[in-house]
Subunit: 403 residues, 4 copies
């Protein structure tokens, strides 16, 4: 199973193709849109959010609300393209030579602007200096299509009783470090309705945090940052429930499920850290507090605790998968940062640009999507399955054995 | 470029193949052995370490001390196989039906034992219950061959002036969280001799830490843990210097260099977290303290700081690459943990086994290797190069342009 | 470099994404359309051809007539979807449950119909019996997007002086077996204007054959087959000129250029054989007539002949690449073939359907495209190249050395 | 599932790693050796054959005669390395600078010698001129390890009732073109004992041909060629029986089973053509003679004929898989061919070298191996299967449904 996304943030549309899905998986555009709309969650998001509310068009691979085994083709028109009166059809013209189109020559620190221009030759003639191509593809707008693609796989998981959810555990200075601090609340939700109950609860908070007090403090923190012309990062936790035992492998380094989850998180723009289970706290604690004693109840194997975050030896162990990601603050600040002009070499401050204060709540929903994708890939490796029916039978047969 | 490793920890040998190296890269078995011997660094390592000091045999791909473009074949005999008088040739016999060989039926928490047995059918007849196959392949012994394979690529980097080094920044409760705490010392070493100076300095400490006081405190901590029958994890930092601008890409999620580095770290046994640059601290700090202002000096682009850890937009930016990994404590404790017997289902404590207190110093050298590999892969994507000569020319041409 | 296509032949559109192209490659939609229109070449093609004349829409990855390093997104609306009055929007509806839509239950021999239905579960409830999903994706209509995707790479080759062309050498009983029979004519064209001159000349024939007499005989043969309610296959030859020495490798089986070209040909619907150079005639002739003596003229290496078809040891040798593909006759015959109904199990003859007599001329242009793709992939492996500028420099440096 | 081979033909050993095999597959070194010994079949093979009779050493991944899910590591020592008194340990020395070792500067036409040297820089200083590295890796000796690796997968197929066999159908001028000529004999064997009966029968002929008269004529032809100082190529047919319906896919070009089989054949040294089913004859015959009418007998689907060679729409259809490969004559002729010296540029004839007249019988057994591999890969895609037990259950469940 593989997918590719394409499209620029101010181009006509984003496009995605998901290849290798079993046939017979129930998916509708509305299912995908539901995941897409959650990508707009979050207090402190700028006005642009409303404009871009996405509705996916399925151009292939789904018929009568089920996959066909054929590649799924997805299209997300960019609302801004025609509506912004900003001349995007000219600025992003596929044809012509771009005569008269203004070039962007001031690379923004913390973005791909400078390195992207250097890599792809937009730092110099004949195609530069102009960082526009870099800005447009490296933008987090791309994650809309990423979410759409991963959501197809996520619906397959859902139909198998595997759910992926998330909540934000830190926004700048507000939040907790130790999962023990929120484990009780989280685990009550998981027990009640799996990771779906977790994300639905989190969605009720403007910052996707569990607990009203925490949410309120975070919102205050965002307001203060906004006032200061500054931005905020944070930490979120992604949890997957219903994951069968046996996904991933220790047999070769690149098959470890935790390694793939780590890539899944850091493949998202602006993420700087990823932890599984106790994560970096596992580096501080003695072994006697980190490992999860094995239990057996009848013919069911279990664990007394879940410090491992559901992965041992690179393989899912039947406990909830727990992965946390850290996102850096948005680099587009109202307070200018130092940079230099690609055309002239002169030092200049970055230009004022409207921006959100934080997009951690949104990023947490993108992380759900990429985590779901990796679970789905590992699932098909273990179970195969050209059809959803066969896949479900095989997963259920394992579950009956306690997996 | 790709590699595969094979072999069990108590089997006859480990085997590795590295495919896709350019021809003409200077590499000798001694170069590889040097990296392998560093894998045995660390205070508090058990007696086994001395037995296993590894010398690689090159069976293909290298002639007259240079690669030939052909796959490089590596062999590491397992010293323990014949010498331990523990009957490994019988226990790990390739042939026969294993009659009379004792089965291991007590899975150890925190290891792959139980999940591996479940995944591969060693939890039940006909091939189980017996977790021996799992223990033997999921063991960290495999990293010896991983280091050997990655070292071939690392020698290519070295010949291009790209070095990878590491140091330990935390062992259990002893250590620092904020890179600012060690940045001065580290950067002085990097300025002096690149990441090689860094690792050579760290190698002088029994715990691979910078600073005598820190090392001493860490050793005391290890001693105390040993006395308590406990084990310790920790955090290490891997740094790469000389990395050209432009490796990795934002164009597709799976091409981001930071995502690949994250996988490289979490593909190593027992690693639970990975951070790039400021890492999880970037989630707490305001944007104005996290982004690195861009500078220009003549025709050279630079950054005022390196909070990003050398990667912007998934692409190397010419600053040192900085990645930190967190390792959990060794799960083989003297203090027993609860488990249950696969054969009988009865709850039992784990058996006493000799073990190190910590292997964080060793893991840090393995992480150097896997990071080096990912840099090499990204380098060949940008520069191609069937021959080392062509590769060097292309890298140097870029460097002349300030990349 | 990789690409994916998606979309059904009676769905709304075909979609393609090309990932990994260097930036700065000159490509316009018109360039792609030119290659697409050649896919409609051929005497004896049914009326449908005119309806489907394709114009690609570029939705990403190209700006101001050049690639940006970002993935290239392509869209081909299916003209038939709305215009045929055949109710395709209902038949291929993404949503709903398909109530009232007629199912196709008679699998056609020689098509994917039966095996595809069995593989993907369309042979039985709940999603079958209904072979429509199989018909729609396995159709050769998909090759339109394949050609579009490969044409992006092909334009890169063109800008480097590498051309790919083809001509038909057999249609049913009309044609020659031994390349010696057409080598003189072909090589004169190659000498004149490379493989482009070859394909432009072939395009002037309704059957894409070199030589008026041969074309006329072939057309007569098509007419006779049509009258007989039968169909015809054939053989075409793809030639690439300007290919540098050194693409592909013997170092590992899956890196051989000839192996990849073979897959490129047999990845196209209805192709049954592929030959490189002398191909199957090399199995009959003595070694003294098959191998190409090596020559040296100044510092240029050459070959006295090109029986090898431009590949030795899995590597391009600087001679024209010569690959022939064999296509089977179209399986949709006017004469019915025996089959059985998926719903009832009753034996039935296939239904009358309009069809072309042959699509070998069209297939030959698709084969050009897939061959071009493989050359481009191998080229980037050798030369790397995030930018077209760097790629061109490196290729030219090699050419100056006689490669 | 993937594998890599390494090692030079005059180096110490060949090495292979097979990654991704399910656990519990019955395989012993003797099983692999049996396939390896068949690689030495063939009249007219030189004396070297006897020296090199191979016995594989399994260094990992197999215990108690079954796979463990871990990578399988294979080693084949090169008998010639130490015994030939030809100084190979010095000539192929891993270390040192090769001072005093004779360089090979005369590239042989029809081999990888010249292109390999150009690609990897062995055509010039500092590492050339010396084609030894190219000769040693591009040699067909590598296929010994290829066969060993593929044999591991082949044993999995065998345990599932899937067999792969072959026979030679042409040697130079002796043989038949149309499968109809041998179909009766072949199909009788297949009916009797599947493809295993086919290969066992062919193995009884010194040239692996069916029919004494044909074999005798071929041997006479070989004798005549030897006398003339010439060499012969030929054509072989590989057949697989017991292959379930549904392997491969039309959903994306690179997933077609026939495309992968084509690559499997042309990934073998010296192969120039590949055909599936009727192959190139399908280009000559009218559609009414090429397609296989579909039949239904109770709930079993079948075909009246097998012109398709067991693949429709890129998917296995339950009929025997039939693939033919064409091998060119061995390029090492007693009659010299023209070439030029890499060091001096002077034209020279190739040197006299002992060689076989033909290795088509041997190549046919290698082709069995690579075909088996591709079937195994496609099988795991459909059925998944971390354990052989689960895989067998799933395959059998399909078979009960008539697949």
């Amino acid at each position: 199973m593989r997918y590719l996304t394409a499209g620029e943030s101010h181009g006509e549309a984003l496009v995605g193709i998901v290849e290798g899905m079993p046939a017979g998986v129930p998916v509708t555009p509305a299912d995908i849109d539901e995941h897409l709309s959650r990508r707009w969650l979050g207090y402190g998001r700028g006005g642009r959010a409303k404009v871009e509310r996405d509705q996916v068009r399925v151009l292939g691979g789904i018929r009568f609300s089920h996959t066909m085994g054929s590649p799924v083709a997805l299209l997300l028109p960019n609302a801004a393209y025609e509506k912004d009166r900003a001349g995007w059809p000219e600025t992003m013209a596929v044809m012509g030579d771009g005569d008269g189109v203004e070039r962007v020559t001031l690379p923004r620190p913390g973005h791909a602007d400078l390195v992207g221009a250097q890599k792809y030759g937009f730092d110099r003639p004949p195609h530069g200096p102009d960082v526009r191509p870099v800005i447009d593809r490296s933008s987090a707008r791309e994650t809309a299509m990423r979410v759409a693609c991963c959501s197809v796989a996520r619906q397959m998981l859902r139909a198998l009783g595997i759910e992926v959810g998330s909540h934000v555990v830190r926004l700048g200075e507000v939040g907790l470090d130790d999962p023990a601090g929120w484990a009780e609340d989280r685990d009550a939700l998981l027990a009640e309705g799996g990771a779906r109950a977790l994300y639905e609860k989190a969605d009720q908070s403007e910052v996707r945090m569990l607990g009203d007090a925490l949410s309120e403090r975070a919102i205050e923190h965002i307001k203060a940052a906004k006032k200061a012309g500054d931005t905020l990062g944070g930490v979120y936790e992604v949890v997957a429930t219903g994951v069968p035992v046996g996904l991933g492998s220790y047999a070769q380094g690149d098959r470890r499920l935790d390694g793939r989850l780590a890539q899944a998180i850091l493949s998202i723009q602006a993420q700087k850290a990823v932890e599984v289970g106790d994560g970096w706290l596992a580096g501080r604690r003695p072994g006697s507090e980190v490992h999860d004693p094995i239990t057996r109840d009848g013919d069911r194997w279990g664990r007394e605790s879940n410090h491992a975050g559901g992965v041992e030896g690179g393989i899912s162990n039947g406990q909830p998968l727990v992965v946390r990601g850290t996102m850096k603050p948005i680099p587009t600040l109202i307070k200018p940062l130092g940079t230099a002009d690609l055309a002239t070499g002169e030092a200049q401050p970055t230009r004022y640009e409207r921006s959100d204060v934080t997009s951690v709540p949104a990023a947490s929903t993108v992380a759900e999507a990429t985590v779901a994708w990796e679970i789905a890939v590992a699932l098909l490796e273990r179970y195969g399955g050209d059809t959803f029916g066969a896949l479900r039978e095989r997963v259920e047969a394992d579950r009956e054995r306690g997996f």
